[in-house]
Symmetry: C2
Subunit: 148 residues, 2 copies
DNA sequence: CTGCCTGCAAATATTTTGCATTAAA
DNA sequence: TTTAATGCAAAATATTTGCAGGCAG
């Protein structure tokens, strides 16, 4: 069951959309609420299926549109894992991803500033990077709850 | 123009395939030589087109098969970049990737052991990772030659 | 020989696009 | 009212699969 947005999340969405001259729509609210509900980095298709529960008429193309919009206004990040479809993640704090080989589940791993700094330091002169994507692949024992 | 494998590279291929009970075929040699020739992390389709120059009858499905085989026996790594097709890279030394937003070109960035160590150290207990993928996205000035 | 591999074609899967309609601001 | 977003269907991409015949070991 997808719950609707809290006032605070709705404001967050509205502000980000307005900032880049985009409109708040019911579809965008629904898709955004799906991303916030379960922090499991769903694929487009997973988002589509979950969102349709709350909004049966919703189309797949609209889900693609919404996700692209969210990425473009910085509400959501795309994550690619090897041989996997693109996944989406509303956690904007700097973090790495850990994909469990067994379960396929994707966990967020906190990324301390000094690690980011040491990573940036390996770039040769002339290389300037805004985005760093870090993915681990392996096994996670114990943890069976959503990370974030 | 794709040159055929050096003896040393051919041995390398042969050994890796044998080790996992796979066979050396002309197609596999061709595909492997394509990967070694230009270190630009080509997509499947790019590999296909280049390989066909040397071997016109080659089929796309075979290229997919070959690449999967190479990945499975550790000859080649897959690289995924955001919103891009999977790319392939025969550089097995630990390294990060840097994708230039302007040119689309993918550079390899050397990854010092201490940086790898600091990355592993951020994993919570119970998380065990064999593979770390690090991608930078940004702009690279100057460098216009293949990195590797 | 024997089993793995190739090539083909068809099936899936994924993502994008054009356009008429609808809805937000 | 004006501009942007949705929904649909079709197209474009990307990847996988089944299977008959071919070839490496």
């Amino acid at each position: 069951m997808i719950q609707s947005l809290t006032d605070s999340d709705r404001e967050h969405l509205q502000e980000a959309l307005n900032r880049s001259g985009q409109k708040v729509t019911a579809q965008r609210e629904t898709v955004f609420s799906v991303l916030l509900a379960e922090r499991d980095h769903p694929t487009v298709d997973e988002v589509f299926n979950r969102a349709r529960e709350a909004m049966p008429g919703l189309s797949l193309a609209t889900v693609y549109n919404c996700l692209e919009t969210f990425v473009s206004c910085g509400l959501v990040r795309q994550v690619n894992h090897e041989r996997e479809s693109t996944r989406y993640c509303p956690n904007l704090a700097p973090h790495a991803h850990f994909r469990d080989k067994e379960t396929g589940r994707v966990h967020d791993i906190e990324l301390p500033p000094e690690v980011i700094k040491s990573l940036r330091s390996i770039l040769p002169p002339g290389f300037d990077s805004e985005v760093i994507e870090i993915s681990f692949l392996g096994r996670a024992q114990g943890t069976d709850k959503n990370s974030n």
